[in-house]
Amino acid sequence: MTTTEPRDAIEQVSSKFGITPEDYMLPARTEIHMLDINGKLHPSGQQGAEPGHEYPLPSPKALVDAYEQLVIGRRVNDQNSALVRQGRMAVYPSSHGQEACQVAAALCLGEDDWMFPTYRDTVAVMAKGVAPMEVMAGFRGDWHSGYDPKQYKVSIQSTPLTTQLLHAVGVAHAAKLRGEDTVVLAMCGDGATSEGDFHEALNFAAVFNLPVIFFVQNNQYAISVPLSQQSVAPSLAHKAVGYGMAGERVDGNDLVALLAVLGRAVRLAREGNGPLLVEAHTYRMQAHTNADDATRYREDSEVQGWIAKDPVTRMRTYLADAGLLPQDTEERIAAHAEAVAKNLRDGMNSENVPDPADLFAHVYSTPTTQMAEQAAMLADELAREEDAK
């Protein structure tokens, strides 16, 4: 367990960058971005311009690997939305338009690092390696969650907002007490920053100097309510200074910048410099879920404006221009994405009948007398139904 006091940690890291602790904690004056909307490397944005906010370009291999996940992520979103329309899946909150954030969140972490995703972060969960059909169990209505959080170091996708940020803090705290260098990435949206647990989680992480990255995907809407009605802070990243941690904002549709910013955040956290808050500026291209009608609260012209900033197109243009996407690589990536989509379709088409006995089997580690009685009651009811057939 490191004995560095949180204040000392901030002093040390800011002096390393030659800036004041306040300048370390405050985000750069503008959001970090590396690609312009046409996919050209931003001349002044190859690195952040300000001291303490400098970001090197990720390696070509890292960029191509990330692009592969980006293409898969887009395919997964579109496939799952189609499955919902066909009535083969109960619900799917799509991250269409946010795939760069999803991919960077997963790829910035090491194998032993933990991720705490929300219901909209399915692509990130898959990109961290969780088997697709295990992820989909929740969305097809089989059970609340289908994968083992310990096996993948991915918590179950949280529906209550920001409650999972505190669990992330606890996982990081336990690891720190054991002297492990685990980093934890905790995800939430812009609307969720209004929740009390957002405040408590950031404060706890800072006070205990824990290696947690709070990653806010600011997609502009909490279902229908725009960010302007959630917060009048200069940016969500500015909230960091109030807790004594570093904040940064990044173009959430720029995969290159996201990999750079989150990659550095993970390194800083792992080195014992405490938690960081990263706000990614992006857009939810589709409705909240299939049950929502986004035309009731936003104009089509606004949506059109964001199509021009599409993260997949920008990344593809950049890589192609840089000579990093030869035809065989593109074909391999496209085939991989199709294979993932086919796997999802096949999985959803296969019949899976949940066992009613599971209702009672997992409420406690060993069913109580009352659970056993109620299980027997249901089993008897089902047996009588079967006999009547």
Binding site: L166, V171, D197, E200, A201, N203, F204, V363
Partner: protein, 366 residues
């Protein structure tokens, strides 16, 4: 703890008697007046000494030792990594404990007072209670949430709530509430050992009560499984034949006093100490009611939609044909917990219990 003496023959009977007397003296030497608070404190310390993953945290639990001193000395003995103060935020405390339990720890956290636990309710109801179920057991949450609860101490508003029904109504939680010093020790050890999350409700009016207890003997009994578990096992606190009083936590001592008073009037009342509200020991409760044919359920919490109403319903469902009278209740009124000068009108009292017993449709002359 009664000493066991084996006599091999009548010839050395006198020697054995002397040995027995000596052993009894030894046993007595280990028995001391121990407060409920000290029993809890010792249970925490013994669990921490045995298991590295047991952590204690909350508000003022470190240097101060907790506002009720239940965590006294733990930081000094085990260090700030094992017992520490947190920022003042109950949802944060419970939420962080969930993450720690997810990652190999066994947190034992303190909510300073019953009503101060309400900010943590979402974490408790949506996550503590459900994590095991929603992951089909892949992510158990071994953790204990200690909550000082109930009244009788002249406490101010928001310091005397009986909040057990909220937790008992939430599937996935276990709810323990000890009523004796011995159970305070054993039940907290058991809660910490449990693979399931336990809401551990401590009747704060009992913190300063004392019993003759040998804590070291209790530690050995617990650690060698020499005592039966309390989970799901109500205790028969007093045997009787005419009617059954069913109580838990702070109400057990009131029920015992009522039984004592009834005995002077010639009525033999059995007293059941529920001990673990979840899981509830239907068998012991029902066996007693079937035997006596009459029952009164006693609890401090408002009676409406409560643990007491649940117990009455279950007795009615299971013991209807053994009942000689409707099952009655003596509970707190359906009002917010009163100001200190009014709490004597609110709390279940010996007189109110005896009145309820009198109303159990006794035959003429009984």
């Amino acid at each position: 703890m009664s000493p066991t003496v084996t006599t091999s023959s009548a010839a050395n009977g006198n020697v054995s008697a002397a040995t027995a007397a000596a052993a009894a003296r030894t046993a007595d030497a280990g028995t001391q007046p121990v407060t409920f608070a000290k029993a809890l404190n010792t249970a925490l310390a013994d669990s921490m000494a045995l298991e590295e993953s047991v952590l204690v945290f909350g508000e003022d639990v470190g240097v101060l030792g907790g506002v009720f001193r239940i965590t006294d000395g733990l930081t000094k003995r085990f260090g700030t990594g094992r017992c520490f103060d947190t920022p003042l935020a109950e949802s944060g405390i419970v939420g962080m404990a969930i993450g720690m339990a997810m990652n190999g720890m066994r947190p034992v956290i303190e909510m300073q007072f019953d009503a101060f636990a309400y900010p943590a309710f979402e974490q408790i109801a949506s996550h503590v209670a459900k994590m095991h179920n929603r992951t089909k057991g892949k992510m158990p949450l071994p953790m204990v949430i200690r909550i000082p609860y109930a009244g009788g101490i002249g406490g101010v508003e928001h310091h005397c709530d009986s909040s057990e029904s909220y937790y008992a109504h939430t599937p996935g939680l276990k709810v323990f509430t000890p009523a004796t010093v011995r159970d305070a020790y054993l039940m907290l050890r058991e809660a910490i050992d449990s693979p399931d999350p336990v809401i551990f409700m401590e009747p704060k009016k009992l913190y300063w009560t004392k019993e003759q207890v040998d804590l070291e003997a209790l530690r050995l009994s617990h650690e060698t499984d020499a005592v039966p578990p309390t989970e799901g096992r109500a205790a028969i606190a007093r045997s009787g034949t005419d009617a059954t009083l069913i109580a838990y936590g702070p109400s057990v001592s009131t029920a015992m006093a009522a039984a004592e008073a009834a005995a002077l009037e010639g009525r033999s009342l059995e007293v059941i100490d529920v001990r673990t509200i979840v899981p509830l020991d239907d068998a012991t409760i029902c066996a007693s009611v079937r035997k006596t044919g009459r029952a009164v359920v006693i609890a401090e919490a408002p009676g409406f939609a409560s643990v007491s109403s649940e117990i009455v319903a279950r007795i009615q469902e299971r013991c209807f044909h053994s009942l000689a009278a409707p099952v009655l209740r003596v509970t707190g009124f359906d009002t917010p917990y009163p100001a200190p000068k009014l709490e004597k009108y609110y709390l279940p009292s010996v007189d109110r219990i005896l009145d309820a017993v009198d109303a159990l449709q006794w035959e003429e002359g009984a």
